[in-house]
């Protein structure tokens, strides 16, 4: 109760301050609004978190009109408190969950209280819970999943009872929730998976169970921990696609078929000439998922990258530079009457509408994919050379077949070199505006990368016919949106000159994140862990390893230990091992990630680390009787606990302005409220 009260009061205090958009609220608040407005958008994270934010906003009377353009925009009269309050409430559950988890694992109230205290009075956890972000929602599901897993482990001797089923199913639901918010949720799935494998291994070794029993256990877990989360996860996406049915900023990332579902998109109930004809203006979209439109612009390839001719790329957004005109080999613009249709095997010349250059290829190696040839824009006003000719092929077509807009898959074979127009999916460097490389591939295998479809088709001389594109089925949409998300995630590369946070910075609390405000005059909020808490956590990790090493060597050498000592080492190895595994799983993978990383990625790991600290320190205090005699060891235990509590409280008192807002001069100037607290030079408050 006390834990819950304190937790809620620290999280909800000064919730509405500052009354402007802070940091990533600009993204997630905006996406919440999109749900309320039912506008389709694209984001690298799965939709559950933003859906919940949108729901919370909707319930609290927010009408979705605030644009969330950039951090620092004033909210004025918008009802933003509902969304913030929702995140803060979920964030307030974290210390409570931590308390319960540690209590289950160690059977010690002290350990649980230490863990909860660490989290309640950590400025970082408070700050990250107070804004419209995905992290509090994600951490809520992670902790809930761990809690129900631990509870489930406790039910091991009461198999197939109601409570056994309850915790098992709850674990599965929370796993789906965690994965539905961010892909980081995968790590907790791995944790639960490993725990389950260990559990099944134990059952397998239990000779009193028959193989049928074991199969039952296995099936129950497979259902609740694999099938159920999967169904829920898919349902979340189904809701996502049903709710978002209006065209919006994310359309270009998706295939033509996908776009035709969205109200307001030009492909929704589209009407255009059915067959491609000479003289038409078209956009050409690559068929690989998240393929992009064939694109060109006035910029040339830089020196040293093939020939210095105009760049041709694939571009994911809709733009005038995506327009191409289909011409015959010899240009005869003066044709009258109905234009001829383009047929399978015809030779065409594609002229870029804005720059009047022809699509061109030659025997220079492509900028990134060195095995392929370069594709450029060449010539002026449509006069080029023989390298501008492409043979158009309909996949699976025969000679004479016309090319159907939207529905035909076409390939462009280069006449002179015999290669095929290809989008490699690699992002060009800065000179190519980070668009996608287009090459001409000498390998003629039919892959989606070398297949294109005609998306927009404008020809005033032909009658428009209403087209209903084949509606994609749900699984196709699901697959497509996942591939687009993964592409987007790995595409978040750090830019030059941008401060990139390194994973080793995090546990030492090296550098925080500015949530709002930079200068002395502004209201500043700075995401930074309470240094005392974080450094205690760090020290406890080392302490934990030492204690486990000592305990396990003692056991392996066969020293005789007391009953109490054996229990302690079991708690250390089993409970502590689980938490350590959780910490590792939520921390180590970031070292291998190429994408841009931020300080707040460490917070799930920090939760595990704090719980481990509670468990470790408690056992350390209890083991005082190894060195001291009974009355002293008891005093030592009490003093240690009090000292710990006092230092956490006092440091929270010192650092609380980080979360609740600072004004006035910066910390390195003497007049500041935070003067003398800038313990590390890398902190920026």
């Amino acid at each position: 109760m006390l834990v819950a009260g304190l937790s809620f009061s620290t999280r909800l205090y000064k919730l509405t301050e500052p009354p402007h958009v802070c940091w990533d609220e600009t993204h997630f608040g905006k996406m919440g609004s999109y749900y309320i407005n039912r506008t389709f958008f694209f984001d690298v994270h799965p939709p559950l978190g933003k859906m919940l934010i949108g729901l919370a906003g909707y319930m609290s009377g927010y009408n979705g009109t605030f644009p969330f353009i950039k951090p620092g925009d004033k909210y004025e009269n918008q009802n933003y408190w509902g969304m913030r309050g929702f995140c803060a409430v979920l964030g307030s559950f974290l210390p409570i969950f931590a308390y319960l988890i540690v209590l289950e694992l160690s059977n010690s109230c002290t350990a649980a209280i230490i863990a909860a205290t660490l989290l309640i009075f950590d400025t970082g956890c408070i700050t990250i819970s107070q804004y419209i972000l995905l992290d509090p929602i994600l951490m809520f599901f992670i902790m809930a999943a761990v809690l129900s897993m631990v509870k489930f482990n406790q039910q091991r001797y009461r198999s197939f009872t109601a409570s056994w089923w309850f915790w098992l199913v709850l674990t599965g639901i929370n796993l789906a929730g965690a994965l539905g918010v961010k892909f980081v949720g995968l790590f907790v799935i791995v944790l639960v998976g490993l725990n389950t494998i260990g559990d099944l291994w134990r059952l397998l070794g239990d000779m009193s169970l028959s193989l049928v029993d074991i199969a039952k256990h296995f099936l129950a877990r497979a259902f609740a921990l694999i099938l159920l989360p999967l169904i829920l996860y898919v349902t979340i996406f189904a809701v996502h696609f049903v709710v978002l049915n209006k065209s919006g900023p994310g359309d270009g990332f998706f295939s033509s078929a996908f776009q035709s579902r969205l109200i307001g998109n030009n492909l929704h109930n589209a009407s255009m000439p059915e067959y491609l004809a000479f003289g038409s203006t078209v956009t050409i979209k690559n068929l690989r998922i998240a393929g992009g439109y064939l694109h060109s612009h006035w910029h040339l390839y830089p020196e040293g990258v093939g020939a210095r001719q105009q760049q041709v790329t694939a571009y994911l957004h809709k733009d005038y530079n995506n327009l191409w005109v289909v011409h015959r080999q010899q240009d005869n613009n003066s044709q009258s009457g109905n234009p001829d249709l383009v047929r399978h095997g015809d030779i065409v010349r594609l002229e870029h509408k804005e720059t009047t250059r022809n699509l061109h290829s030659h025997l220079h190696e492509a900028p990134l994919t060195k095995k392929h040839f370069q594709v450029t824009g060449y010539g002026i006003n449509g006069t080029g050379d023989a390298n501008d000719l492409w043979q158009m092929e309909v996949c699976g077509g025969r000679k004479g077949d016309p090319v159907k807009v939207l529905r035909s898959k076409v390939r462009f074979l280069h006449r002179a070199t015999g290669c095929v127009l290809y989008s490699s999916g690699k992002t060009l460097p800065k000179w190519g505006w980070e668009q996608i490389e287009v090459t001409c591939s000498p390998y003629l295998k039919e892959t989606p990368s070398s297949q294109w479809n005609i998306e927009d088709h404008i020809n005033p001389k032909l009658p428009n016919i209403s087209l209903s594109v084949l509606k994609p089925n749900f699984l196709e949409i699901l697959l497509e949106s996942h591939i687009v998300m993964f592409r987007g995630n790995s595409g978040l590369k750090p830019k030059d000159n941008e401060m990139n946070s390194k994973p080793w910075h995090w546990p030492i609390n090296y550098q925080g994140l500015r949530f709002s405000g930079v200068n002395a005059t502004e209201y500043r909020v700075y995401l930074l862990g309470n240094p005392v808490v974080w450094w205690i956590n760090l020290a406890s990790l080392g302490l934990y390893f030492t204690m486990v090493a000592v305990a396990s060597i003692a056991t392996q050498r066969g020293f005789s230990l007391g009953q109490q000592r054996i229990e302690h080492s079991l708690v250390l190895v089993r409970g502590g091992g689980l938490l350590m595994l959780g910490w590792l799983l939520h921390y180590a993978p970031f070292f291998t990630m190429g994408r841009i990383l931020y300080f707040h990625h460490y917070f799930p790991a920090m939760l595990f680390s704090s719980m481990l600290t509670g468990l470790t320190l408690d056992i350390l205090f209890r083991s005082a009787d190894l060195l001291l005699h009974p009355p002293y060891s008891y005093w030592f235990q009490r003093t240690g606990q009090l000292l710990l509590l006092f230092s956490i409280l006092y440091s929270f008192y010192l650092f609380h302005p980080l979360s609740y807002g600072m004004t006035g001069p910066l910390a390195h100037e003497p007049g500041s409220a935070m003067a003398g607290l800038k313990w590390m030079d890398s902190w920026e408050f």
């Binding site: 291994w201 990134l368 392996q556 050498r557 066969g558 030079d681 920026e684």
Partner: protein
């Protein structure tokens, strides 16, 4: 007594494993014959060759691809052949002149490659499998075309594989020896030394080393649990292992760098990446320029200030007679005063003069008055006599920071703010003197307490694409972009502007000897090697790790300048398949065994089980640690990166076959036909061996580069569509 001894015959009994001798001879023959053909630069020889040349000339270089031992081994081979370093390694296929002893350049990698074959034989024996299995593993390695190709040229993979195998072999030798013998510690030391060499050749070796440590610590853990041994004995044994397997490799690794650094003592192409102090320790280059410079910076000193950041390129504080544009493209205004930038080339405009704010003179007093930490100075640009100035105007590219300019008085109530406080960040005492090259200095603007900083953003055309310099108030404590060092330095002697310009144009000279310790150099070099990022771009023959398993890709190493004779890195497809199959089979078998053992069904006796587990730890573990890291890497990768992992598979296959033969089939003894099955297995194995030999023969022309094949024959060798085989059009 003596008489009796004389009675005894003098006998030498030697046991020679003829199989071992035979495979060794064959290995030497396949790896070493016609080693100097082709007499041209083959593939990555062009890369390693340049370093070999630099070793011969003792010129300093940095190579981020790996630690120096590998390069040193190649250079040693070149040294034996009397190579003088005079060859330009500029293109693959360039003919070697007669003065270059190609045979000796390629000898050491080829020897290592050949020795791998007997090592695999011995290693299989140490894993406690039979001579027949050992022979099988040796033959698989012997007839692997890709390993042959990789060994026969001046490349490092075969050296790496050799040391990895040696490390495992000697460790297992140590482990299997009876614990009473002292000679087994020789094997342990040898294992430690090989580990040091493994990590010294390529960073990838680190993973194999870690695997060996894991295996060793598992064994040690068993030792700790053995209650028949006294506590003291356990401690001693653990200390031995730690000494040999941890301390020795680490010391050796540092030793390679020691040799590297003490050998390469001349300045060279990569000097500029290093700190000034490092450069000054090399002969020539910076040390020639700075030799004899005065050490202490004094009022009136003429200096060039180098930024401590060497990313993207090293540069010096610079100014020139061009002003900031009145308005930038985005509409913001500037002070329109003289530009101050950071310029990556040596230039007369990089000279600045240190002036005492209280006095007019720009020459050094006799005796010179040194500048100390905390002193306030002015900096005068040598050629234009403008003062280094900063003020509350937004900088051109980084508007959150202050502009830095050469002050021009336009009479627009914008007073000069040109006082800077010297803050020596690596000082040892509070009143330390500012030293040339050694001191890292921050210049703190007195009026605003902002710090002079290289923002590193290139200016647009109006700034000639030089790098922007700003003054920043909100600074990070340990950012090297704030630090500046005096590189070139002399005492100014001329007060007149004209004379001073002449003085600035004249080269510097004078002499002091500066030394930095080996440790400082080692740490700096190692750090630079790990952080220097070269532009990674795709290569025509680069591939992704998943393509290696099925050998979807090949690498053309060399093509004869006029005929179709060519060398490709193509593995033996049959052995490749055998390796993959055995990997799968082992995993399946292991899962089945594990599950059944957990249910109390022991299919094989405990001894055999231990042997089976040990095989898995070494071979499957070795394959994993040499393959999985590549999946996570963001580097340009080639098929040859897979070769170390492949060797583990070849080690695994025959051993697994033997296991199946002796245990799986025998334990199915309810079956009447177990003998027939065993025979069928033998025949199958023989057939596979035969086809491996035939495939080896088929691909020989692409392995050895002779004889030349016709286009039609080449077409026949293109077993996979994705392989690139070259045809010369005639």
């Amino acid at each position: 007594q003596l008489g009796e001894m004389l009675q005894l015959p003098l006998v030498v009994t030697a046991q020679v494993d003829l199989l071992l001798v035979l495979v060794s001879l064959l290995a030497f023959w396949t790896r070493l014959s016609h080693l100097s053909y082709p007499n041209a630069v083959v593939f990555d020889e062009v890369y390693y060759g340049q370093f070999v040349s630099l070793y011969m000339k003792r010129v300093f270089f940095i190579d981020d691809s790996g630690p120096p031992l590998g390069h040193m081994i190649l250079a040693f081979g070149a040294y034996l052949g009397g190579f003088d370093g005079n060859f330009v390694w500029n293109r693959i296929g360039a003919e070697y002149p007669t003065t270059v002893n190609v045979w000796s350049l390629r000898l050491l990698p080829a020897l290592c490659g050949a020795l791998c074959v007997p090592l695999v034989y011995l290693l299989t024996l140490e894993l406690k499998f039979s001579h027949l299995s050992a022979l099988g593993a040796a033959v698989l390695l012997l007839l692997e075309n890709s390993l042959i190709v990789q060994s026969r040229f001046m490349l490092l993979e075969s050296v790496l594989i050799f040391f990895v195998l040696l490390a495992f072999f000697s460790y297992l030798r140590f482990h299997n020896a009876p614990s009473s013998s002292w000679s087994r510690y020789i094997w342990l030391i040898l294992s430690g030394v090989s580990c040091g060499a493994v990590v010294g050749v390529k960073y990838m070796g680190l993973f194999s080393y870690l695997l060996l440590l894991v295996v060793a610590s598992l064994h040690t853990w068993k030792l700790i649990g053995d209650k028949t041994i006294s506590h003291r004995n356990v401690c001693v044994q653990c200390v031995h292992r730690v000494l040999c397997l941890v301390v020795v490799p680490v010391l050796l690794y540092v030793f390679w760098f020691y040799v590297h650094l003490s050998f390469l003592n001349r300045s060279g192409p990569h000097d500029q990446l290093m700190s000034s102090a490092f450069q000054a320790s090399l002969q020539g280059g910076l040390s020639r320029i700075t030799r004899g410079q005065p050490l202490e910076v004094a009022y009136g000193s003429q200096v060039t200030l180098r930024s401590s950041v060497s990313q993207p390129i090293p540069c010096w504080l610079h100014s020139h007679k061009v002003n900031y544009p009145i308005r930038y493209d985005n509409g913001r205004g500037s002070s329109h005063q003289q530009q101050v930038t950071c310029y990556p080339f040596k230039d007369v405009n990089n000279w600045w003069i240190i002036k005492d704010p209280g006095r007019q003179q720009l020459v050094v007093d006799t005796p010179p008055r040194p500048v100390r930490h905390g002193d306030v100075i002015q900096l005068v640009h040598g050629m234009t006599s403008r003062f280094l100035n900063s003020h509350d105007v937004a900088a051109p590219m980084s508007p959150h920071t202050q502009e830095v300019s050469g002050y021009i008085d336009f009479n627009v109530s914008m007073p000069a703010q040109n006082l800077w406080r010297v803050d020596i960040s690596n000082r040892e005492a509070e009143s330390e003197v500012w030293k040339t090259i050694l001191s890292e200095v921050r210049l703190v603007h007195v009026n605003t307490s902002a710090v002079l900083k290289l923002s590193g953003v290139p200016l647009p055309d109006w700034g000639f694409r030089q790098l922007e310099v700003v003054a920043d108030k909100l600074f990070k404590a340990h950012s090297s972009s704030l630090e500046w060092t005096v590189e070139e330095h002399r005492y100014g002697t001329s007060q007149e502007q004209k004379e001073r310009e002449a003085e600035l144009h004249s080269p510097t000279h004078i002499d002091v000897d500066r030394k930095i310790s080996f440790w400082a150099k080692f740490v700096e070099l190692q750090w630079k090697m790990l952080t220097v990022k070269q532009e990674e771009s795709e290569h025509k023959y680069s591939s992704s790790p998943l393509e290696w398993i099925t050998m979807e890709t090949n690498i053309a190493y060399w093509l004869h300048s006029s005929t179709n004779a060519q060398i490709h890195l193509i593995g033996n497809p049959v052995s490749w398949g055998v390796g993959n199959l055995s990997l799968l089979a082992y995993q399946l078998l292991a899962v089945v065994y594990l599950l059944r053992r957990r249910r109390g069904l022991k299919d094989v006796p405990d001894g055999v089980w231990d042997q089976f587990v040990c095989l898995g730890c070494v071979c499957v573990g070795g394959w994993l640690v040499n393959f999985v890291p590549f999946l996570l890497m963001d580097k340009t990768l080639f098929l040859y990166h897979y070769l170390p992992a492949l060797c583990y598979l070849y080690l695994l296959s025959p051993a697994l076959l033997e296991h199946a033969h002796t245990h799986l089939l025998r334990y199915a003894h309810q079956l009447q036909h177990s003998l027939t099955h065993q025979r069928a297995l033998c025949v199958g194995a023989l057939a596979v061996l035969l086809s491996i030999f035939l495939t080896y023969r088929t691909f020989c022309p692409l392995t050895y580069g002779s004889p030349e094949l016709s286009a039609h024959q080449l077409q026949g060798l293109k077993w996979r569509d994705t392989w690139d085989i070259l045809y010369r059009r005639r």
